[in-house]
């Protein structure tokens, strides 16, 4: 019976969805390897312990809570030291981190402290013989690599939005844990965490993404994309590099080879040609819609539903229709 660790990421005093995903993935792995315990680690400013219950509800047997003012912002130095010490103490077989911006920073540090490798951006995981096998997209999504991890613990960082949070009521017994090193003494200090100006739903968590390209012609016309996203109600706005290069949208909105990699349930590409570097970031979306005036645009090769025509006619009509459809549900 193997103990499996999950890092429960929080920001601004709230659990992030990826925390529930990590606990869910850890629960599945523990169950597949004989039903061991899942130990979650939750760190944050004083008060964060109040969020432990949701972790129990998603399969954590034990929630180790570390509250410290020095954990108000991400603190990878102290966070990694704490996670590594806890992993040694509980003798975890595997450690699951979210492959979020913070988790990707933390997981390799923890692995290095423990002298083991790491598999990042993992989309599925299984115990195979004595090893843990983790699949992850490589070569900009054009090759899927299965990595065999033989170290203990097997450290993996899971791609957001892939492991759907699943309820699985467990005790979620809270244990208070002290920092392994003083969080206030970290050499690197996050001075400020600025919430994004418009992104309410983040690209990595949104079930629907409406993305705009150069076909929109100007920054102002992104209003069309934002209105369509608002009509869906559960959508985030993305962009191509052509658009972020021109400063119409911030770089953090860029989807593609050198931007964000997303796999929403629905991806709507508005005025996007479908360059290979853009496809690298969105080709695993479940359903793809493309609107482009050029019938030969490469985006149509991978779009489940394509409409040929002018975005300035089609998008407002689609926004109205989506609004109406949702109103009638």
């Amino acid at each position: 019976m193997a103990t499996v660790f999950a890092f429960a990421e929080a920001r601004g005093g709230e659990l992030r969805k990826v925390a529930l995903e990590a606990v869910t993935a850890a629960r599945t792995l523990a169950d597949e390897t004989g039903g061991g315990e899942v130990h979650a680690l939750l760190v944050g400013a004083p008060g964060i312990g109040g969020k432990a219950a949701a972790l129990g509800a998603h399969g954590a047997d034990v929630v180790h809570v570390c509250e410290h003012a020095g954990f108000e912002h991400a603190n990878a130095e102290a966070g990694a030291a704490l996670a590594a010490e806890l992993l040694k103490r509980i003798g975890a077989r595997a450690a699951v981190f979210p492959a979020s911006a913070s988790g990707r920073d933390l997981a390799p540090r923890v692995a290095a402290k423990l002298g083991v490798g790491v598999a990042s951006d993992v989309v599925s995981v299984a115990a195979v013989g004595g090893a843990i096998h983790a699949r992850h997209p490589s070569y900009t999504g054009k090759v899927i690599t299965t990595l065999a991890l033989t170290g203990t613990p097997a450290v993996i960082a899971i791609r957001p939005n892939v492991f759907t949070p699943r309820e699985s009521a467990r005790a979620g017994r809270v244990e208070t844990v002290a920092p392994a090193v003083d969080p206030a003494a970290s050499k690197v200090k996050v001075r400020e965490t600025k919430a994004g100006s418009r992104a309410k739903l983040d690209l990595s968590e949104a079930p629907v993404i409406v993305s705009g390209g150069r076909g929109l012609k100007s920054a102002e016309n992104f209003k069309l994309v934002e209105d369509l996203a608002a009509a869906f109600g559960n959508a985030a706005v993305g962009a191509t590099r052509a658009v972020t290069d021109d400063g119409w949208r911030p770089h953090s909105d860029q989807i593609g080879q050198t931007g964000r990699v997303v796999s929403p349930e629905l991806y709507v590409a508005v005025g996007i040609s479908g360059a290979i570097q853009h496809l690298a970031g969105m080709r695993t979306s479940r359903t793809i819609v493309a609107i482009n005036k050029d019938r030969e645009a490469p985006i149509f090769k991978i779009a489940d539903y394509g409409i040929v025509g002018d975005v300035f006619d089609i998008v407002p009509a689609l926004t109205e229709a989506v609004r109406a459809a949702r109103a009638h549900r």
């Binding site: 991400a74 990878a76 130095e77 979020s100 911006a101 990707r104 920073d105 390799p108 540090r109 692995a111 290095a112 402290k113 002298g115 083991v116 490798g117 790491v118 598999a119 990042s120 951006d121 997209p137 490589s138 070569y139 900009t140 999504g141 054009k142 090759v143 690599t145 990595l147 991890l149 970290s186 050499k187 690197v188 996050v190 001075r191 965490t193 600025k194 919430a195 994004g196 983040d202 990595s204 968590e205 972020t244 770089h251 953090s252 080879q257 050198t258 290979i276 570097q277 359903t287 991978i302 779009a303 489940d304 539903y305 394509g306 409409i307 006619d313 089609i314 229709a321 989506v322 459809a325």
Partner: protein, 255 residues
């Protein structure tokens, strides 16, 4: 950083140019290299650029580039030299390891000997996509680390950087020496000038054996992702919108 001379290391990886259809090798766990072209990993070009800008701003110093791999990586080291880096080191190995910790250990063993002010990495190598080597080297050397930076300012032995989070940004302060990994948006890399290309031929490029251990991560299999069904155009203009909405509701069930 010392009064004037700044010492900067940049780790760069040789990666395939991605605009091809990859084929899986006969062993089922490698990419068939036939016909592939190679270049410096995108993020590492921005790391080189950041290093050059820092040296230029400081006035004097050294930018050294390190690449672990077979002799072919000398081509990528030369490219960095032609952009303006001062010297290169190849850590010779038949191939890189699938374990980022093995690579990190080999790089750290080499980097350890020098007091660097900044060691730059790319955020991620776009072939293996581990996003791990930089922070691992920092841990091994006991250095502070800021990963995935998209803005950077360094002055008087301290620095400030910006990191993109999901729907937020972090403003981070750090002391030198430091390990930084570079995200897109930090800069645009310069193109090597003809003069730079000529000068690069005479710059020192040292070759040393890499101390590469077996590690605890290996490739069990590689496969091509499932192909998407061929695209389908359902109509033209705003007239096609009702049909799209119907398909989203009944077929895709996302609305």
């Amino acid at each position: 950083m010392g009064a004037t001379r700044v010492k900067i290391a940049v780790c760069i990886k040789r990666v395939p140019v991605m605009d091809v259809r990859f084929r899986i090798g006969a062993d089922g766990k490698s990419v068939d290299e036939t016909g592939l072209k190679y270049d410096v990993n995108d993020f590492d070009l921005w790391a080189v650029e950041a290093a050059l800008q820092l040296k230029e701003k400081t006035g004097a110093g050294e930018v050294a580039v390190f690449s672990l791999g077979p002799d072919a990586v000398q081509e990528q080291i030369r490219k960095a030299l032609s952009m303006g880096a001062d010297r290169g080191v190849q850590l010779k190995a038949a191939s890189a390891s699938a374990d980022p910790l093995s690579i990190a250990r080999a790089l750290a063993a080499e980097l350890e000997a020098t007091q660097w002010d900044v060691i730059f990495f790319g955020k991620v190598a776009i072939d293996t996509a581990d996003q791990s080597v930089g922070p691992m080297v920092a841990e091994l050397l006991g250095l502070p680390c800021v990963s995935a930076i998209s803005a950077l300012e360094i002055a008087n032995g301290r620095g400030t950087a910006k990191r993109e989070l999901e729907g937020a940004q972090e403003i981070v302060e750090f002391p030198l020496p430091v390990v930084l990994t570079v995200d897109e948006g930090l800069n645009k890399e310069r193109l090597p000038s003809l003069k730079g290309i000529m000068a690069a031929k005479k710059k020192p490029l040292e070759v040393k054996p890499a101390q590469l251990d077996a590690g605890t991560v290996s490739v069990a299999a590689m496969e091509l992702p499932a192909e998407r069904a061929a695209g389908r155009i359902i109509g033209e203009g705003a007239a096609a919108v009702p049909e799209l909405v119907r398909l989203l509701q009944t077929e895709a069930k996302v609305l």
